[in-house]
Symmetry: C2
Subunit: 231 residues, 2 copies
């Protein structure tokens, strides 16, 4: 979309924020990207993807709707920033990467999944390409650990992507089928109708109660078994 690589130097680059500048009546602490993103995450947590509207976001910030556009190009960017902000990774408890690479990978990927499950809207935003620094940081860390664990240079990209794919797939599936009780009942009924067309699904209660966490870990184990050469 923004293909033409012109200068387009409309963006502020950096706000000096010299004084508090009381601005209203001494209450609202002035706009900033950080505050905008944090409030956007709040709003998304509370009302989902559809609940994030520029006017509402501005309201929560005690600002006019159009004020946001000085800090942000458009709504898309708010989504991108919110997504990346939720994926920050503070690293494993100790520095054990080299010795226990498997533990390090597990920790990072489970934290990844947990972070996204804490903010279910994040999964549905993932397919829209937004490579923020936190996401890149996770990919970088993943590559570094795998590389240290003995994965050959030629296999590195494949290994990184396999794990990434698995994690985001699992997260998307999980948030997608994390039905409320009402939905469960409805699904149950809808499926009962079709039990003769989908007997296996019906018998294993695939959509109703799967052990998501156990399945995630087990699949991850298998993947790692294959990706990293046994020593």
């Amino acid at each position: 979309m923004a293909a033409k690589g012109g200068p387009q130097d409309k963006r502020p680059q950096r706000r000096a924020r010299s004084l508090p500048s009381m601005q209203q009546a001494g209450s609202e602490p002035a706009l900033s990207i950080e505050r905008i993103v944090a409030t956007a995450v709040e709003l998304l947590d509370a009302e989902g993807v559809g609940g994030l509207k520029m006017r509402r976001l501005a309201d929560r910030l005690g600002a006019g709707a159009m004020s946001l556009y000085w800090h942000v190009d458009n709504k898309e960017e708010v989504f991108d920033l919110a997504l990346d902000s939720v994926l920050e990774y503070r690293g494993p408890p100790q520095r054990i990467e080299a010795a226990d690479w498997r533990g390090a990978i597990f920790h990072m990927l489970e934290d990844w999944r947990a972070s996204m499950l804490r903010h279910p809207w994040s999964a549905s935003l993932l397919p829209r390409r937004a490579l923020g620094p936190n996401i890149l940081g996770r990919l970088e860390l993943l590559g570094r650990i795998l590389s240290g664990a003995g994965v050959a240079e030629a296999d590195l990209n494949g290994a990184i992507w396999s794990l990434w794919n698995y994690v985001i797939g699992a997260t998307i599936t999980r948030t997608n089928f994390d039905l409320s009780d009402d939905d469960m009942a409805a699904a149950q009924q809808r499926l009962a109708h079709l039990s003769e067309k989908y007997p296996t699904i019906e018998r294993s209660r695939l959509l109703l109660d799967s052990d998501w966490d156990g399945a995630f870990r087990k699949g991850l184990d298998f993947l790692l078994d294959g990706l990293v050469p046994r020593l």
Copy 2:
């Protein structure tokens, strides 16, 4: 959203379509869900998710915008139907499921991925929960093959979900980073900026040229090695 399970019997259930009923001047073949969905897929292929608007869809069909709403509840449903329609599976060339379960699974999952890559918008629609008959059919088939291959009942759901997660994750990643040449150049430049923060990504050219297809197959192999008990 549509939680209240009232009767809401507004939907037509079945159109008899008794006569061609020349309707206009003998040209347009009258509206139907099938035609609406097929045209929606065309439009999505041509212009992406953002390009599908009810008015435009109606235009392409030679109909008024509001005419669509007799066949369809809302735009969401158009998305759901388009997604499912693209995921139809005609089955493996021969009937070899029992003997060559690995081949059968590979065939189905690679076809799955290929179908979605042929319609890149489909990946971004997946996280919105829409279990059409074709998707359910694929899950059912997957379960049946795995079960026949010797996966224990207790492990079945986990195995199904692991494979499903992997496939949709891989597809989403692939469509997400399938950059045009312009985007590639832009990404290259943006990354050059950060090469000291992400040296591993930079060195392995992770975002620029990965062997997507090879990585997909390899990871799938590893998953299957783990999921299905070796005989």
